[in-house]
Amino acid sequence: MSRSLLFIPGNNPSMIQNSDLYGADAVIFDLEDSVLMEHKDAARDLVKTYLEQLNLLNCQVIVRINGMKTPFLKMDLEALSYDYVDAFMIPNATHGAIEYITNQIKELEQTRQLKKEIQLIPIIETPYALLQVKEIVKMDRVIGVLFGAEDYTTNMSIKRTKQGEEILFARNMISIAAKAYNKEAYDTPFTDVNDIDGLKEDVKLAKQLGFSGKAAIHPRQIDMINELFSPSQEDILFAQRILKQAKKETKGAFSIDGKMIDTPIITRAQKIIIQAKLYGLLGEPND
Protein backbone atom coordinates (compact mmCIF):
# COMPACT_ATOMS: atom_id res chain seq x y z
CA MET A 1 0.00 0.00 0.00
CA SER A 2 1.72 3.19 -1.16
CA ARG A 3 0.72 6.69 -0.10
CA SER A 4 2.97 8.49 -2.57
CA LEU A 5 4.09 7.36 -6.02
CA LEU A 6 6.77 9.56 -7.57
CA PHE A 7 7.20 9.72 -11.33
CA ILE A 8 10.87 9.80 -12.36
CA PRO A 9 11.63 10.54 -16.05
CA GLY A 10 13.31 7.44 -17.43
CA ASN A 11 16.08 9.27 -19.28
CA ASN A 12 17.13 11.58 -16.46
CA PRO A 13 20.26 10.19 -14.75
CA SER A 14 20.39 12.73 -11.92
CA MET A 15 16.82 12.03 -10.83
CA ILE A 16 17.16 8.28 -11.25
CA GLN A 17 20.27 8.05 -9.12
CA ASN A 18 18.50 9.85 -6.28
CA SER A 19 15.12 8.20 -6.79
CA ASP A 20 15.06 6.31 -3.49
CA LEU A 21 16.10 9.36 -1.46
CA TYR A 22 12.98 11.47 -1.90
CA GLY A 23 10.86 9.56 0.61
CA ALA A 24 8.19 8.29 -1.78
CA ASP A 25 6.60 4.94 -0.93
CA ALA A 26 6.82 4.00 -4.60
CA VAL A 27 8.97 5.20 -7.48
CA ILE A 28 7.58 5.07 -11.02
CA PHE A 29 10.37 4.99 -13.60
CA ASP A 30 8.67 6.49 -16.61
CA LEU A 31 9.39 5.20 -20.11
CA GLU A 32 6.26 6.75 -21.59
CA ASP A 33 5.23 10.41 -21.73
CA SER A 34 8.36 11.99 -20.22
CA VAL A 35 10.66 10.32 -22.74
CA LEU A 36 11.07 11.59 -26.31
CA MET A 37 10.60 9.02 -29.10
CA GLU A 38 14.27 9.16 -30.07
CA HIS A 39 15.34 8.44 -26.48
CA LYS A 40 13.06 5.48 -25.74
CA ASP A 41 15.90 2.95 -26.12
CA ALA A 42 18.28 4.99 -23.98
CA ALA A 43 15.69 5.40 -21.21
CA ARG A 44 14.93 1.67 -21.22
CA ASP A 45 18.65 0.85 -20.95
CA LEU A 46 19.22 3.47 -18.25
CA VAL A 47 16.38 2.24 -16.02
CA LYS A 48 17.32 -1.38 -16.59
CA THR A 49 21.00 -0.82 -15.78
CA TYR A 50 20.10 1.16 -12.67
CA LEU A 51 17.75 -1.51 -11.36
CA GLU A 52 20.22 -4.29 -12.16
CA GLN A 53 23.11 -2.64 -10.39
CA LEU A 54 21.47 -1.04 -7.38
CA ASN A 55 19.07 -2.38 -4.83
CA LEU A 56 16.25 -0.06 -3.96
CA LEU A 57 15.56 -1.18 -0.46
CA ASN A 58 12.98 1.21 0.81
CA CYS A 59 10.34 1.66 -1.84
CA GLN A 60 8.10 -0.12 -4.31
CA VAL A 61 9.63 -0.21 -7.82
CA ILE A 62 7.18 0.51 -10.62
CA VAL A 63 7.96 1.04 -14.31
CA ARG A 64 5.50 2.87 -16.53
CA ILE A 65 5.91 1.11 -19.84
CA ASN A 66 4.76 2.28 -23.25
CA GLY A 67 1.24 1.45 -24.39
CA MET A 68 -0.26 -1.17 -26.66
CA LYS A 69 -0.38 1.09 -29.69
CA THR A 70 3.37 1.76 -29.65
CA PRO A 71 6.22 -0.34 -31.05
CA PHE A 72 7.96 -0.11 -27.65
CA LEU A 73 5.70 -2.25 -25.46
CA LYS A 74 7.30 -5.60 -26.28
CA MET A 75 10.82 -4.20 -25.89
CA ASP A 76 9.92 -2.67 -22.52
CA LEU A 77 8.45 -5.94 -21.24
CA GLU A 78 11.36 -7.97 -22.60
CA ALA A 79 13.95 -5.67 -21.03
CA LEU A 80 12.36 -5.18 -17.63
CA SER A 81 10.42 -8.30 -16.69
CA TYR A 82 12.77 -9.27 -13.87
CA ASP A 83 12.53 -9.68 -10.12
CA TYR A 84 13.72 -6.14 -9.45
CA VAL A 85 10.46 -4.73 -10.80
CA ASP A 86 7.45 -4.93 -8.48
CA ALA A 87 4.85 -3.66 -10.92
CA PHE A 88 4.32 -2.30 -14.40
CA MET A 89 2.12 0.74 -14.81
CA ILE A 90 0.06 0.46 -17.99
CA PRO A 91 -0.99 3.61 -19.89
CA ASN A 92 -4.25 3.76 -21.84
CA ALA A 93 -5.44 0.63 -20.11
CA THR A 94 -8.25 -1.49 -21.45
CA HIS A 95 -9.33 -4.95 -20.34
CA GLY A 96 -7.89 -6.41 -23.54
CA ALA A 97 -4.55 -4.64 -23.11
CA ILE A 98 -4.15 -5.89 -19.55
CA GLU A 99 -5.01 -9.42 -20.64
CA TYR A 100 -2.42 -9.28 -23.44
CA ILE A 101 0.29 -7.81 -21.20
CA THR A 102 -0.41 -10.33 -18.44
CA ASN A 103 0.12 -13.19 -20.89
CA GLN A 104 3.36 -11.66 -22.19
CA ILE A 105 4.70 -11.26 -18.65
CA LYS A 106 3.67 -14.78 -17.65
CA GLU A 107 5.71 -16.21 -20.52
CA LEU A 108 8.77 -14.18 -19.57
CA GLU A 109 8.42 -15.10 -15.89
CA GLN A 110 8.27 -18.78 -16.73
CA THR A 111 11.20 -18.66 -19.15
CA ARG A 112 13.31 -16.68 -16.70
CA GLN A 113 12.09 -18.58 -13.64
CA LEU A 114 11.40 -15.39 -11.71
CA LYS A 115 10.83 -15.66 -7.98
CA LYS A 116 7.72 -13.53 -7.89
CA GLU A 117 4.86 -12.37 -10.08
CA ILE A 118 5.12 -8.87 -11.52
CA GLN A 119 1.99 -6.93 -10.70
CA LEU A 120 0.09 -4.38 -12.74
CA ILE A 121 -1.24 -0.88 -12.14
CA PRO A 122 -3.40 0.18 -15.10
CA ILE A 123 -3.95 3.89 -15.70
CA ILE A 124 -7.57 4.84 -16.17
CA GLU A 125 -7.28 7.80 -18.53
CA THR A 126 -9.98 7.42 -21.16
CA PRO A 127 -13.78 7.47 -20.93
CA TYR A 128 -13.74 3.90 -22.30
CA ALA A 129 -11.39 2.72 -19.55
CA LEU A 130 -13.56 4.43 -16.96
CA LEU A 131 -16.55 2.43 -18.18
CA GLN A 132 -14.40 -0.72 -17.96
CA VAL A 133 -12.79 0.07 -14.61
CA LYS A 134 -14.73 -2.58 -12.71
CA GLU A 135 -13.58 -5.29 -15.13
CA ILE A 136 -10.01 -3.97 -15.17
CA VAL A 137 -9.54 -3.63 -11.43
CA LYS A 138 -10.68 -7.14 -10.62
CA MET A 139 -8.12 -8.78 -12.92
CA ASP A 140 -5.64 -11.12 -11.24
CA ARG A 141 -2.39 -9.19 -11.30
CA VAL A 142 -3.92 -5.77 -10.94
CA ILE A 143 -3.05 -4.47 -7.48
CA GLY A 144 -4.58 -1.07 -8.05
CA VAL A 145 -5.44 1.57 -10.61
CA LEU A 146 -4.13 5.10 -11.17
CA PHE A 147 -6.43 7.84 -12.37
CA GLY A 148 -4.84 9.84 -15.21
CA ALA A 149 -6.81 13.06 -15.23
CA GLU A 150 -4.77 14.93 -17.84
CA ASP A 151 -5.43 12.41 -20.59
CA TYR A 152 -8.95 11.77 -19.30
CA THR A 153 -9.96 15.44 -19.56
CA THR A 154 -8.27 15.72 -22.96
CA ASN A 155 -10.21 12.69 -24.17
CA MET A 156 -13.40 14.17 -22.75
CA SER A 157 -12.63 17.52 -24.45
CA ILE A 158 -13.00 19.35 -21.16
CA LYS A 159 -10.74 21.80 -19.39
CA ARG A 160 -9.12 20.60 -16.20
CA THR A 161 -9.41 22.92 -13.23
CA LYS A 162 -7.68 23.01 -9.86
CA GLN A 163 -10.98 22.49 -8.08
CA GLY A 164 -11.56 19.32 -10.11
CA GLU A 165 -15.36 19.36 -10.33
CA GLU A 166 -15.08 17.96 -13.87
CA ILE A 167 -13.25 14.85 -12.64
CA LEU A 168 -15.27 14.18 -9.51
CA PHE A 169 -17.43 11.48 -11.07
CA ALA A 170 -14.41 9.66 -12.50
CA ARG A 171 -12.60 9.84 -9.17
CA ASN A 172 -15.65 8.44 -7.37
CA MET A 173 -16.08 5.64 -9.87
CA ILE A 174 -12.41 4.62 -9.72
CA SER A 175 -12.15 4.65 -5.94
CA ILE A 176 -15.42 2.73 -5.51
CA ALA A 177 -14.42 0.09 -8.10
CA ALA A 178 -11.03 -0.38 -6.44
CA LYS A 179 -12.49 -0.65 -2.96
CA ALA A 180 -15.17 -3.08 -4.17
CA TYR A 181 -12.45 -5.53 -5.20
CA ASN A 182 -10.09 -4.76 -2.32
CA LYS A 183 -7.54 -3.08 -4.60
CA GLU A 184 -5.72 0.23 -4.35
CA ALA A 185 -6.92 3.46 -5.97
CA TYR A 186 -4.21 6.03 -6.71
CA ASP A 187 -5.19 9.57 -7.48
CA THR A 188 -3.99 11.64 -10.42
CA PRO A 189 -0.99 13.95 -9.89
CA PHE A 190 -1.53 17.59 -8.93
CA THR A 191 0.25 19.32 -11.78
CA ASP A 192 1.11 22.73 -10.31
CA VAL A 193 4.26 21.85 -8.40
CA ASN A 194 4.55 25.37 -6.96
CA ASP A 195 1.09 25.39 -5.39
CA ILE A 196 1.53 23.51 -2.12
CA ASP A 197 -1.76 24.83 -0.66
CA GLY A 198 -3.60 23.61 -3.77
CA LEU A 199 -1.88 20.24 -3.41
CA LYS A 200 -2.99 20.02 0.21
CA GLU A 201 -6.65 20.58 -0.70
CA ASP A 202 -6.39 18.13 -3.59
CA VAL A 203 -4.87 15.39 -1.39
CA LYS A 204 -7.48 15.94 1.32
CA LEU A 205 -10.24 15.54 -1.27
CA ALA A 206 -8.65 12.40 -2.75
CA LYS A 207 -8.38 10.83 0.69
CA GLN A 208 -11.97 11.75 1.46
CA LEU A 209 -13.09 10.11 -1.80
CA GLY A 210 -11.42 6.84 -0.81
CA PHE A 211 -8.12 6.93 -2.66
CA SER A 212 -5.28 5.15 -0.90
CA GLY A 213 -2.47 7.26 -2.35
CA LYS A 214 -1.54 9.83 -4.94
CA ALA A 215 0.97 10.12 -7.73
CA ALA A 216 3.50 12.95 -7.60
CA ILE A 217 5.42 14.62 -10.40
CA HIS A 218 7.94 16.45 -8.20
CA PRO A 219 9.84 15.38 -5.07
CA ARG A 220 8.57 18.45 -3.19
CA GLN A 221 5.05 16.99 -3.29
CA ILE A 222 6.01 13.82 -1.41
CA ASP A 223 6.02 15.00 2.21
CA MET A 224 2.56 16.53 1.94
CA ILE A 225 1.09 13.43 0.30
CA ASN A 226 2.67 11.08 2.84
CA GLU A 227 1.54 13.19 5.76
CA LEU A 228 -2.06 13.52 4.63
CA PHE A 229 -2.44 9.88 3.61
CA SER A 230 -1.10 8.73 6.99
CA PRO A 231 -3.37 8.38 10.00
CA SER A 232 -2.90 11.29 12.43
CA GLN A 233 -1.50 10.68 15.93
CA GLU A 234 -4.95 11.57 17.28
CA ASP A 235 -6.55 8.89 15.06
CA ILE A 236 -3.93 6.33 16.07
CA LEU A 237 -4.37 6.96 19.80
CA PHE A 238 -8.16 6.75 19.52
CA ALA A 239 -7.91 3.55 17.45
CA GLN A 240 -5.64 2.02 20.10
CA ARG A 241 -8.17 2.91 22.81
CA ILE A 242 -10.99 1.36 20.78
CA LEU A 243 -9.13 -1.90 20.21
CA LYS A 244 -8.03 -2.12 23.84
CA GLN A 245 -11.60 -1.57 25.05
CA ALA A 246 -13.04 -3.97 22.44
CA LYS A 247 -10.96 -6.80 23.88
CA LYS A 248 -12.60 -6.28 27.26
CA GLU A 249 -16.18 -5.80 26.05
CA THR A 250 -18.70 -8.60 25.86
CA LYS A 251 -21.35 -6.48 24.12
CA GLY A 252 -21.45 -5.79 20.36
CA ALA A 253 -21.54 -2.04 20.92
CA PHE A 254 -20.06 0.17 23.62
CA SER A 255 -19.08 3.79 24.01
CA ILE A 256 -15.87 5.76 24.44
CA ASP A 257 -16.06 9.48 25.30
CA GLY A 258 -19.78 9.33 24.55
CA LYS A 259 -19.26 8.00 20.98
CA MET A 260 -20.87 4.72 20.00
CA ILE A 261 -18.34 2.06 19.02
CA ASP A 262 -19.56 -0.95 17.04
CA THR A 263 -18.21 -3.31 14.38
CA PRO A 264 -17.59 -0.80 11.53
CA ILE A 265 -15.77 1.56 13.93
CA ILE A 266 -13.66 -1.32 15.27
CA THR A 267 -12.81 -2.39 11.71
CA ARG A 268 -11.79 1.19 10.88
CA ALA A 269 -9.62 1.27 14.02
CA GLN A 270 -7.93 -1.96 12.93
CA LYS A 271 -7.22 -0.46 9.50
CA ILE A 272 -5.71 2.65 11.11
CA ILE A 273 -3.38 0.53 13.23
CA ILE A 274 -2.35 -1.56 10.22
CA GLN A 275 -1.54 1.65 8.31
CA ALA A 276 0.29 3.13 11.30
CA LYS A 277 2.44 -0.01 11.59
CA LEU A 278 3.11 0.00 7.86
CA TYR A 279 4.27 3.61 7.88
CA GLY A 280 6.27 3.30 11.11
CA LEU A 281 4.01 5.64 13.06
CA LEU A 282 3.44 3.50 16.14
CA GLY A 283 5.45 4.26 19.23
CA GLU A 284 6.28 1.67 21.88
CA PRO A 285 3.33 -0.59 22.77
CA ASN A 286 1.45 0.97 25.66
CA ASP A 287 0.10 -2.19 27.23
Binding site: P13, S14, Q17, D41, A42, D45, L46, K48, T49, Y50, E52, Q53, L54
Partner: protein, 86 residues
Protein backbone atom coordinates in the same frame (compact mmCIF):
# COMPACT_ATOMS: atom_id res chain seq x y z
CA UNK B 1 32.55 5.86 -41.08
CA UNK B 2 29.41 5.01 -39.16
CA UNK B 3 29.17 6.42 -35.66
CA UNK B 4 26.54 6.12 -32.97
CA UNK B 5 25.93 8.17 -29.88
CA UNK B 6 23.94 7.95 -26.67
CA UNK B 7 23.55 10.19 -23.65
CA UNK B 8 24.10 13.91 -23.27
CA UNK B 9 26.59 16.40 -21.91
CA UNK B 10 24.21 17.51 -19.15
CA UNK B 11 25.20 17.27 -15.52
CA UNK B 12 25.33 13.69 -14.12
CA UNK B 13 25.24 12.27 -17.67
CA UNK B 14 27.82 11.41 -20.30
CA UNK B 15 27.82 11.24 -24.06
CA UNK B 16 29.22 8.07 -25.55
CA UNK B 17 30.31 7.93 -29.18
CA UNK B 18 31.25 4.60 -30.75
CA UNK B 19 32.54 3.50 -34.14
CA UNK B 20 34.05 0.31 -35.48
CA UNK B 21 37.83 -0.03 -35.82
CA UNK B 22 40.52 -2.66 -35.36
CA UNK B 23 41.07 -3.34 -31.63
CA UNK B 24 39.54 -1.45 -28.74
CA UNK B 25 40.40 2.17 -27.94
CA UNK B 26 38.76 4.16 -25.15
CA UNK B 27 39.13 7.92 -24.88
CA UNK B 28 37.76 9.71 -21.84
CA UNK B 29 37.10 13.44 -21.45
CA UNK B 30 35.78 14.17 -18.00
CA UNK B 31 35.25 17.08 -15.64
CA UNK B 32 36.62 14.74 -12.98
CA UNK B 33 39.35 13.15 -15.12
CA UNK B 34 42.11 13.40 -12.53
CA UNK B 35 40.04 11.54 -9.95
CA UNK B 36 38.03 9.14 -12.07
CA UNK B 37 39.53 9.04 -15.57
CA UNK B 38 41.17 5.62 -15.10
CA UNK B 39 38.07 4.24 -13.37
CA UNK B 40 35.83 5.32 -16.26
CA UNK B 41 38.21 3.86 -18.84
CA UNK B 42 38.38 0.53 -16.98
CA UNK B 43 34.60 0.47 -16.55
CA UNK B 44 34.16 0.89 -20.31
CA UNK B 45 36.82 -1.72 -21.12
CA UNK B 46 35.20 -4.20 -18.67
CA UNK B 47 31.80 -3.65 -20.26
CA UNK B 48 33.23 -4.21 -23.75
CA UNK B 49 34.93 -7.38 -22.54
CA UNK B 50 31.73 -8.71 -20.96
CA UNK B 51 29.97 -8.14 -24.29
CA UNK B 52 32.88 -9.75 -26.15
CA UNK B 53 33.45 -6.62 -28.24
CA UNK B 54 37.00 -6.39 -29.58
CA UNK B 55 37.03 -3.85 -32.40
CA UNK B 56 35.54 -0.57 -31.27
CA UNK B 57 36.49 3.04 -30.61
CA UNK B 58 34.72 4.63 -27.64
CA UNK B 59 34.72 8.30 -26.73
CA UNK B 60 33.19 9.13 -23.33
CA UNK B 61 32.47 12.82 -22.67
CA UNK B 62 31.65 12.71 -19.00
CA UNK B 63 29.83 15.34 -16.94
CA UNK B 64 29.95 13.56 -13.61
CA UNK B 65 28.01 10.42 -14.51
CA UNK B 66 28.01 7.53 -12.04
CA UNK B 67 28.87 4.01 -13.15
CA UNK B 68 25.41 2.77 -14.11
CA UNK B 69 24.89 5.81 -16.35
CA UNK B 70 28.19 5.29 -18.19
CA UNK B 71 27.48 1.58 -18.67
CA UNK B 72 23.93 2.15 -19.90
CA UNK B 73 24.93 4.92 -22.33
CA UNK B 74 27.64 2.64 -23.72
CA UNK B 75 25.15 -0.23 -24.09
CA UNK B 76 22.69 2.04 -25.93
CA UNK B 77 25.36 3.47 -28.24
CA UNK B 78 26.57 -0.05 -29.11
CA UNK B 79 23.01 -1.24 -29.86
CA UNK B 80 22.43 1.81 -32.05
CA UNK B 81 25.64 1.10 -33.97
CA UNK B 82 24.60 -2.52 -34.44
CA UNK B 83 21.13 -1.51 -35.60
CA UNK B 84 22.55 1.01 -38.07
CA UNK B 85 24.39 -1.88 -39.75
CA UNK B 86 21.20 -3.85 -40.33
Amino acid sequence: MKESQAGSVESCDCRITVRKQQGNTVEVKSIVYELYGDHIKNLILDTLERQNIKDIYVLCEDKGAVDFVIVSRLVTALKRLENSDE
